[in-house]
Symmetry: C2
Subunit: 112 residues, 2 copies
């Protein structure tokens, strides 16, 4: 696990990217997927993920529909039109930022 502050500002981009690739996912699924993808290095906590999904929904980036698996509810989130558009800007900013960081901190490496 990384020092917690590093993740700041990247969570929205990560969620946007996953939903862009998967069409619909529920919260628990997202957290499991991220854990797998990163070999356990990024572990989204409940207290981070669910409020983030709610905020993104309030901001109009996401929408969801509930499905019942037996008696248990799942909220399947998906990108809205707005989310699809803003995803591009979010990821572009993140990519640019990562490139900039690399230039400062690891100048011996080729920038991505």
């Amino acid at each position: 696990m990384y020092s917690k502050e590093l993740l700041k500002g990247t969570l929205t981009a990560i969620i946007l990217k996953l939903l862009a690739d998967h069409e619909k996912m529920y919260g628990y699924e997202i957290s499991q997927h991220v854990k797998e993808l990163t070999g356990g290095k990024i572990h989204l906590k409940d207290g981070s993920l669910y409020p983030a999904l709610q905020k993104m929904t309030a901001d109009g980036l996401l929408s969801y529909k509930e499905e019942y698996i037996g008696k248990r509810v799942r909220k399947y989130y998906f990108l809205t039109k707005k989310g699809q558009k803003e995803k591009i800007a979010y990821l572009e900013e993140l990519r640019d930022f990562i490139g900039t960081l690399n230039k400062i901190v690891f100048p011996q490496l080729k920038s991505i």
Copy 2:
């Protein structure tokens, strides 16, 4: 400029890296250097930089000595032994994090 949250957690690593390369720098110099290096994309604000330097000093990563240029004081910061050691871990963590992020968000690129 990036959305401010992106910078979180990276400022300490950036400062450690610059001081590792330059032996001693003062605050204003650091902010100018970062601005130049990044083509203005990262602009450390006074209200971010000076408290960060103070905190890192309190944490034992940095030390400084004052020099007078005319009547104006400059605080030249430099890495302590502890700072030199921890710099390695900080940068390694950052590098690993960037690599992990890339794998999630830009899987089509080769990881760095």
